[in-house]
């Protein structure tokens, strides 16, 4: 934590080394997450650039109420969502998920990796975003809820819906 505080202090002072350190520390991780959400390498790289530029501009306003990476992450997610919104890819989702049947309770299925990969990247980004944060970033429901500024119930619903979409596809053997 002390190292992070020092990094923030040096960023506020405008030390070039601190900026390099920040990008080296979080750049690739952020790029990977953005790519998984956006499913586009170029766009993901653009978002990462925009994110850091925004971070640099706003570093003086950072109060340290959340971790530095969480703060950076929130900016990146907002920028990613803006891009997705532009593509009109987002769905409106109510707080409660009303599924056709409970796929979660189905017995373990045989997983076709190729099909699963295809489904992950083809599913609506609204669900993929939560799956990425939960499985790839290994964040808790509460952390995702804070990050996306949404209720924990909404996050659980999205996660459950996302998993169900994948399971249904696997059960059907593809759409």
């Amino acid at each position: 934590m002390v190292a992070e505080e020092l990094l923030i202090l040096n960023l506020k002072r405008g030390r070039e080394e601190a900026y390099r350190q920040l990008i080296e520390k979080y750049g690739n991780r952020l790029y990977r997450t953005c790519y998984l959400i956006l499913n586009d390498r170029e766009e993901a790289e653009d978002v990462v650039q925009e994110t850091f530029i925004k971070v640099f501009k706003k570093i003086d306003t950072f109060k340290g109420q959340s971790g530095l990476y969480t703060w950076i992450y929130a900016i990146a997610l907002n920028l990613s969502r803006d891009r997705i919104r532009m593509k009109q890819d987002m769905l409106e989702l109510k707080d409660e998920w009303i599924g056709s049947y409970d796929v979660e309770s189905l017995v373990e299925i045989n997983i076709d990796r190729e099909l699963l990969k295809k489904e992950i990247f083809e599913m609506n980004s609204l669900y993929r975003e939560v799956l990425v944060l939960f499985y790839f970033e290994e964040l808790s429901i509460k952390e995702i809820s804070n990050l996306l500024n949404e209720k924990e119930g909404t996050i659980k619903s999205k996660l459950s819906r996302g998993r169900n979409i994948l399971k249904e596809s696997l059960l059907k053997g593809g759409r």
Binding site: Y31, R32, L36
Partner: protein, 103 residues
Amino acid sequence: MDKKDKLGIEIKSIMEEETLDLTLSQKAFDNIIQHRKKSLREKIQEFINKEIEIPVAPAIIGFAALLAVTLIPMDIFKSQNERIIDMGGSYVIIREGFEVSKK
């Protein structure tokens, strides 16, 4: 929602596999660094090293105007407004304009 169930493990594994080779390009890195906040020292250095472009024509005109104001005497046109009449050894100066003296 278990992260370690079969589906969860597979999702994580696919995501990691798909992003394994992803690294930020040097171009992106440099572009980000260019936009960083600069320290006071750098700002001063930047200001000192700044190249200033002066357009030649307006600069010459301005310089000439400055020279004219400073070198040409202020009463150069004054004599044109005066007439001196010789009346038997006495000179009468007639001015077309007049000055209001301050008290």
